[in-house]
Structure formats: structure tokens, C-alpha cells
């Protein structure tokens, strides 16, 4: 799936624009990182893509379809939240199967089919025996992988990751970076990662979009950005990290 972001603008509270005519194309199967300091607009952009926030202007197109005003639930984008937002009173298996359970009418797989799909995902995240646990009984790293599996269960057309490593300690974080990238490759889904950590973005993403003050300063492969920064900000931000 290719996502086209076309001159998206957003402001809150009538203040200065949080996003100012942002345009960006995310290619099919690509892993793209939105990198920037806090307040640069990257999380707002991700929420706009997810449909959790409405833009003031501009268009979002998915494979040519205009999805700007489509409600979040109808977009079928898997999202991994910063705090994971796991359903605390549901088991791991129920968490992962939730997106299938709420499908309507004949779209909803039968119970055995749902159970099989959940088992498949538990295998994928290498937690085959933990389906009966509750989120509170898992480590931070395990919670993050469950959040990934829950987002992937609905066969998302786009995978959105909002600072998925920020709640983990440094060691676990490094181990999980590789596993997130591997999962994305295995499933072959187009993915967008929001992060403020340059090393993280460079290690995981095919391309990185550096954001600052509501605009995209530069988009390119990690090598491009390192070798040919287009502005002082990009050079400083990448160098400082």
C-alpha cells in the first residue's frame, strides 16, 4: 500500500500550525521513520494518518483512494501506541483477537478461525504459551510484542508505530528494534514509525523523514541524511544524537 500525504495542515487551539502543508509519499512495503524533537509535529501527523485527529486542510490518499475523512475504524491501519494501550482486563489472546471479534456480520471469522489466527500471531511474536496471561503479568518487552501482534492481527493495510520503544530499558530496546523490523519484513506491511531517537530511526527504517516545527526538513535514506544533510537543523539533530 502506498500512502500519499498531500499538503496536510493542522493547528490546535487556534495557535500556530502544528503541521504546515506537509507532503510525503510512503512507498509500498517501505519502513519509514518520522524523526524529530518533541513538538515537531510527528505524533500529530501519525494521529492524522490513523484517523484519530482531523486535518484542517490537505488530503490523504491510500493507493489513490481519498481517505482524508474516513473514520479511524474503517481505515484498517494497525497502530502500536506509546503506552501499548493493551486492554488490561483481557488475556493476551483476547487482546490479539479483538480486531477480528469486532468485525461485522460475514466479515467476522468464526471462533475457530479466530483462535487459529491468534495462535499464528503468538507464534510470530515467539510467545506461543502466553495467550492466557493478562497484560499486567508480562514484561515491558512482551507487552510491546503483544501490541504488535494485536495490530497485525487485522492484516492492516498500514502499520503505525508511535514511539514503541520509549517505555523500555536500553538493553531490551536494542534487542526489540531488530525484531520489529523482522516482523514488518515477514508480514510485508508498509510501516511508519514515530521516534525522537536518531539511532533507532537509522537502524530500523528504509527512509527517514526529519521533522521540525511542523514541516519536513528532509526525506532520505539514513546514508543520504548522514552524508548530505539539507539544512543546519538536520545536521545538528543527526549529529547531536
Amino acid at each position: 500500500m502506498t500512502l500519499e500525504i498531500d499538503r496536510i495542515t493542522k493547528s490546535f487551539d487556534g495557535d500556530a500550525a502544528v503541521l504546515n502543508e506537509v507532503s510525503l509519499t510512503v512507498k509500498d512495503g517501505e519502513f519509514l521513520a518520522l524523526l524529530g524533537p518533541s513538538g515537531s509535529g510527528k505524533t500529530t501527523l501519525l494521529n492524522l494518518i490513523a484517523g484519530l485527529t482531523k486535518p484542517d486542510g490537505g488530503t490523504l490518499r491510500l493507493d489513490g483512494d481519498d481517505i482524508t475523512t474516513r473514520p479511524a475504524g474503517a481505515r484498517r491501519f494497525g497502530m502500536v501506541f506509546q503506552s501499548y494501550a493493551l486492554f488490561r482486563h483481557m488475556t493476551v489472546a483476547d487482546n490479539i483477537g479483538f480486531g477480528l471479534r469486532v468485525l461485522k456480520g460475514k466479515d467476522r471469522p468464526t471462533k475457530p478461525a479466530r483462535r487459529a489466527r491468534v495462535a499464528e500471531l503468538l507464534d510470530l511474536i515467539e510467545m506461543p504459551d502466553l495467550g492466557d496471561r493478562y497484560p499486567a503479568q508480562l514484561s515491558g518487552g512482551q507487552q510491546q510484542r503483544v501490541a504488535m501482534a494485536r495490530a497485525l492481527a487485522i492484516s492492516p493495510r498500514l502499520l503505525l508505530l508511535d514511539e514503541p520503544f520509549s517505555a523500555l530499558d536500553a538493553q531490551v530496546r536494542r534487542n526489540l528494534r531488530g525484531s520489529v523490523r523482522d516482523l514488518q519484513q515477514k508480514v510485508g506491511v508498509t510501516a511508519i514509525l514515530v521516534t525522537h531517537d536518531q539511532a533507532e530511526a537509522f537502524e530500523i527504517a528504509d527512509r527517514v523523514a526529519v521533522m521540525n516545527g511542523g514541516i519536513i526538513e528532509q526525506v532520505g535514506t539514513p546514508a543520504d541524511l548522514a552524508e548530505r544533510p539539507s539544512s543546519d537543523f538536520v545536521r545538528d539533530f543527526i549529529g547531536a544524537a
Binding site: F12, D13, G51, T53
Partner: protein, 287 residues
Amino acid sequence: MPILQTPMDALRRRRRSPLPGLGLTLGVTVTFVTLIILLPLSGLAWQFAQLGWSDYLFVMSDPRTLASLRVTITAALLATVVNGIFGLLLAWVLVRYRFPGRAALDALVDLPFALPTSVAGIALVAVYAQDGWIGSLIEPLGLKIAYTWWGIVIAMTFTSVPFAVRAIQPLIEELDRREEDAATTLGASRWQTFRSITLPQLSPGILTGTGLSFVRSLGEFGAVIFIAGNLPYETEIASLLIVIRLDEFDYPAASAIAGTMLALSLIVLVVINILQTRLYRKLEGAA
């Protein structure tokens, strides 16, 4: 232009939540609040507005009205003082001491909340009337509680004691005991420590507790009318006089008394609120 900017900003500040259901839930809420709370309140306001000042003063200067207000307010004041003292005692004992029956005592405090007021009313009569357990005990001494002003005080104390206890309890739980210890090491007596260290920190809770207890006592009806005797000028509370005026279809008089009682309650609540803010500010400033 700053005057115009404020409302515009307030409107834009409606950060839209993506969750569905705003229309439905807010619609139900506003409809309910309008029909069940707002309209009835405006009913009183409307009736009140129709009264002129002279009508209002005529009703309120009636000796029977004045007497009922005096009876209600003095009894509520005494009940509040009693609840302030014993509420503090009960809260203190419940938080600071562990003893057999503590949990039962804790639950008992809520009984007046849970007991319907008319049940409380006849229960109190059963205890304090001449043939009751306490009434028969004090009669030989020439004392009478039931069907006197003292009965009103007892009923008000009963129904409002939980307010005092529950408002003070959390503050005792949060007290920093090291401050008390520090005062003791500096040679302060237990009473001096309590007076100068503990009591000031509990004052916001005592204020809220007694304030709520007073407001509740002012409006108490069910528990009081059984034990009060309801003699005009002597043991007739304001709420009862409102009911009597209603039975006479004298709506203006009923509204005048009710409006006065409501205003009195609201003033007490607002004053508590203001004093409370000041107290907290003072406590935080001192800390």
C-alpha cells in the same frame, strides 16, 4: 481586541476526541439535567421572582417564620458543634488506633447515611420518649429530650455525623507523624503538639465536615419531625413550615422560606469553599 479573543479561543479549544458517542451521551445528559435539575430549580427562581420585596418581607417577618428559622438554625449549630468534636474523635480513633471492633465502628459511622430518615425519626423517638430507654432514664431527673428543642438537636446530630467523620478521616491519614514526633522531641506536651501541630493541619477537614454537617442539619426533615413535637414558635423547624404553607396552597410563602433556606445553605457552602482555599494556601505556604 483581547475581549473578543477569549470566547473565540474557548470555542477553538474544543479539541475533538475521535471517540464516537458525543452526540448521544451529551444529548441524554443535557435532556436529563434540564428536566430533572434545571427546570425544577428555575421553578423556585420563577416563583421567587414573582414575589415582590414587600411580599417577601411580609412572609419572612411573620413571627412564626422567624421562630422556625431560629429553632432550625440554633439546633443545627449545636448539632454541628457536637459533630465537630465527636466527628474528630471518631475519625482520630478510627485512623490512629487498632482495636477489636474497629471495622464494625467504621461501618457503623455510615449507618445514618444508609438509614431512611423516617426510620431514623421513629427510632430516635423510641429511645428518647418517656417510655424509651434513655427517655425513661432521665425523666426522674426532670429532663426531657423528645418533643423539645433538644430532640431536634439529637435528630440533626444523628443524620449528619457521617459528614464530619468522613471529611476529617482522610486528613488524619495523610498527617505526617514525624512533625508530631519533632514537636515532642522539642519538649512540647501532647496537648501542645495537638493544638499547635495537628489541629491546624486538620482544619480544612474540620471546616468541610462541620460545614456539610450544618447544611445537612438545616435541611433535615424526616428524622426531625417525629421527635420535634412540632409546636409552632417552639419546636417547629423551617422545613416543616414550608410543608404546612404548601398544604395551605400558600405557594408564595413556601417559596419565600424555601428560597431563604436554600440561599443560606449555598452561602455556607461558598464560604467553606473560600475559607478552604485560603487554609490550604496558608498550609502550603507554611510548609
